[in-house]
Amino acid sequence: MFVFSFRFYYGDSFVRQPVMVDLIPIYTKLRLIRRVEEEIARVYPSDKIKSPVHLSIGQESSSVGVCDVLRPDDMVSASYRGHAAYLAKGGDLNAMIAELYGKATGCARGKGGSMHLVGMDHGVLGGSAVVGTTIPMALGYAFALKREGKGRVVAAFFGDGATEEGVFHESMNFAALHRLPVLFICENNFYAIHEPLEKRWATRELCERVRTYGIPARQIVDGDVMEIRRWASEAIAPMRSGASGPAFLECHVYRWREHVGPGEDYDAAYRGRGELLPWQESDQVKIIGAQLEDSERARIDAQIESDIAAAFEFAESSPFPQPEDLFTHVYAK
C-alpha cells in the first residue's frame, strides 16, 4: 500500500533531480490540523475551551511543508497562532486539547493556554502572544544547537506583522552574523488582526529586505505544500553540516476564519469572501488528499477522527489544576 503514496517531485533546484516524497505523512498532518481546528471551532461555543483560539485553518501548508523535512530532534518556534506548527512538529494532541480546556494534563499544565503551546519532548518551543518575541528565542536555541554540533536546526514561524517589529531586524542581522542554523518562515496572511499590508508596509519586498542581511530568501505565493517542503529541504540540508547559515521563506497563506475565535468574518468591513475563493480552490488538504488512493485516504481520515475524539475525551475527563498549583513553577528549583 505504502508505495502508492509516493510521488516524484523535483528536489534540489540546482540539480533538478526528481526525489521520492511520501505523501502520507504530509496529508495526515494537513488533514489532522484542519480537522482539529474545525473541532475546536465546533466545541468553542460551549465555553468548555476557556482560552482565546487563533485558528490555523487555511494556513496548514507552511507548517506541514517545513516540518515534514525536520528531524524529531529539531525545534520549531511559533506564534500565538501556533496550533499548526505544534501539530505539524508532532506535538501531543491530547496534551494540546487538554491545555485548551485548562486541564492539569495540558502540555503546559493549564498554565499556558492556546497561545503558549509547548512540547519540548517533540521539539516545540513555547508560543508567545507578543508578536515577534519568539524569533530571538529561536536564535538563542539555534546558537546552542550550533555549539552542540549535532546538525540540529530550528524552524522559526511567525506572521507578517512580526516583520514590522524591531526585534525581527535585530534577529535577521544576528542570525546571519553568527550563521545560525535557523529557517525563518514568515506566514504572510496579509492581515495583522484586521489591518491589511497596504496600511502597514511601505513596500511588499520583504524578501529583498531580508536578503540585505545576507540571508537567502524565497517567496512562495500559492501555498503549495510541496513547493514549501522542497525549498525548506534545500535550505536546511546545508545548515546541518554548517555549510550554510540561516535561510528565509515567505509563505503566502490565508486565514480562513476570524483573527481570534471560531467563526468567519467575511461580513466585516476589512475583507470579503472573494478573497477566500482562490485559496479554497487551491486547498492543500484536498489537493494532496486527492493524490492518495481513496482507501488510503479513508483509512487516514478515520484514524484522525478517532484520535480527535479521543483527545477531546481525554481533555473532558482530565482534572483541573489544584488551587495550590497557582504557585508552582513561579521559580524553577
Binding site: V118, T133, L139, Y331, A332
Partner: protein, 356 residues
C-alpha cells in the same frame, strides 16, 4: 562581611565580579558571557577583562546593539541548556530588554508548565559617578522586583559581588544583577575559592538600638558612613543590607525594627513604587512587628538626574543627608542636626576620576 582567614584577601568589587565569572566558566562549560564591549580593551570597566583570552571568542563575545533580540537569544540559549550572562554597561539599557525579560524570561517556566527553565544572569551597572546625566545613572531595579519569576540582587561590596554572582549563575531562573559604578574600586575580604551568598537573606552590618538603616546597593556604604557620624552624635544606628531584593528578606528587617523602633530605607533609586516602598510596606503589613515604628524613605529626588554638579548633588541621598534624617527621627525633640558635609564624603567617591 566575611572574616579574615588564609583564603581571604582584599579584592576590589570589579575584580570579584570577574573572578566569580571566571571560576564558574572554568567549572561549567555551559556558561558564556556576551554583551556589547565585553571583549574590548576596557572590558566593561575591567569586569570582563581577560575572559576572552582565557575562554575564547566562542564563550566571550560582543553583540550588535540589539538589546531586545540579544535578550531573546539569552533566553533561547538558556532554554536549550546553556547558562548565559548578558552584560549591560548601563542599567538604563535594560529598558530595551523589557519585553523579553518580562513577557518571556520571567514567565517561561510558569506559562510552559515547568517544561523549560531560563537560567540566565543579566548584569547591569547603575552608572552614577558624576555627570552621567539622565540616561546613564538610573537605578531601575524596582521595575524587575515587580515581576514574579525574576530574581533581583544588588550586592554592596566585593564579597557579596562574588558570592551573589556565583549564586546567580548557578540558579535556574533569570537573575537581574544590579551593580554600581561607584562600588567597582571598593575592596572587601573575599574568599579565593568559589562560594555563594544565599538567596533571600539580608545581613546586619552594624548593630544599634536607636534606628534601622536599610541601604540598597551603594547606599549601604552611605548608610555605614552615616552610622559612624550618628555615633559621634550619640545615636546608635543598625545598618542592614538586604542584598537580594527579590526574594526580599523582610523578616530580618522586621527583626531589626523590633529592636530599634525606627526604620529609614535608603535606595539608589526613586522612592515611588520603589524598593524602599516595598520594604516599608512589608514592615507595615507584618504581623511580627511588636511595637510602634516610625518609618521613612530616602532616594533619588523626584526629578530626572541632571549632570551639573550642584544640582546633581541635591539629586542623590548621601551619608550627611541620611544621618540628618535619622537623627531627626530618633531625636525629634532635639532640633535639627547635620554632620559636617566634607567629613561625610566617602573616599572611594572622592577618588573617582572620569570619564566613565
Amino acid at each position: 562581611m566575611s572574616t579574615r582567614n588564609n583564603s581571604h584577601r582584599p579584592l576590589r568589587y570589579v575584580d570579584a565580579l570577574r573572578e566569580a565569572v571566571s571560576q564558574e566558566m572554568e567549572l561549567d562549560p555551559r556558561v558564556f558571557v556576551f554583551g556589547l564591549d565585553v571583549d574590548d580593551h576596557k572590558g566593561i570597566q575591567g569586569s570582563t577583562l581577560g575572559l576572552r583570552e582565557k575562554f575564547g571568542a566562542e564563550r566571550v563575545f560582543t553583540t550588535p546593539l540589539s538589546e531586545d533580540a540579544m535578550t531573546g537569544v539569552a533566553i533561547g540559549a538558556a532554554m536549550a541548556g546553556l547558562r548565559p550572562i548578558h552584560v549591560h554597561i548601563r542599567m538604563d539599557f535594560l529598558m530595551l530588554c523589557m519585553n523579553q525579560l518580562v513577557n518571556i524570561g520571567a514567565k517561561a517556566h510558569y506559562m510552559y508548565g515547568g517544561a523549560v527553565k531560563v537560567p540566565m544572569v543579566i548584569r547591569s551597572m547603575i552608572g552614577k559617578s558624576w555627570g552621567q546625566g539622565a540616561q546613564h545613572s538610573q537605578g531601575l531595579h524596582a521595575m524587575f522586583m515587580h515581576v514574579p519569576g525574576l530574581k533581583v540582587v544588588a550586592p554592596s561590596n566585593a564579597h557579596d559581588a562574588k558570592g551573589c554572582m556565583i549564586a546567580a549563575i548557578r540558579d535556574d531562573n533569570p537573575v537581574i544583577f544590579v551593580e554600581h559604578r561607584l562600588l567597582y574600586p571598593t575592596e572587601a575580604y573575599v574568599p579565593e575559592e568559589p562560594f555563594t551568598v544565599p538567596f533571600g537573606h539580608a545581613r546586619v552590618l552594624k548593630t544599634g538600638k536607636d534606628i534601622t538603616l536599610v541601604g540598597i546597593s551603594n547606599m549601604v556604604m552611605e548608610c555605614l558612613r552615616a552610622q559612624e557620624l550618628l555615633a559621634e552624635a550619640g545615636v546608635q544606628a543598625e545598618v542592614l543590607d538586604p542584598i537580594w531584593l527579590a526574594p526580599l528578606d523582610i523578616d530580618s528587617i522586621v527583626d531589626s525594627v523590633n529592636r530599634t523602633g525606627n526604620l529609614l530605607v535608603v535606595d539608589t533609586a526613586w522612592t515611588s513604587c520603589g524598593a524602599s516602598a516595598e520594604i516599608v510596606a512589608g514592615v507595615a503589613e507584618s504581623a511580627r512587628v511588636l511595637r510602634g515604628v516610625r518609618m521613612a524613605r530616602m532616594g533619588y529626588a523626584a526629578t530626572t538626574c541632571p549632570p551639573s554638579p550642584p544640582i546633581e548633588q541635591e539629586f542623590y541621598p548621601n551619608a550627611a543627608k541620611i544621618a540628618a534624617k535619622a537623627y531627626e527621627m530618633v531625636r525629634p525633640e532635639s532640633g535639627e542636626w547635620t554632620p559636617d558635609a566634607t567629613r561625610a564624603m566617602l573616599t572611594h567617591q572622592l577618588q573617582f576620576r572620569g570619564p566613565f
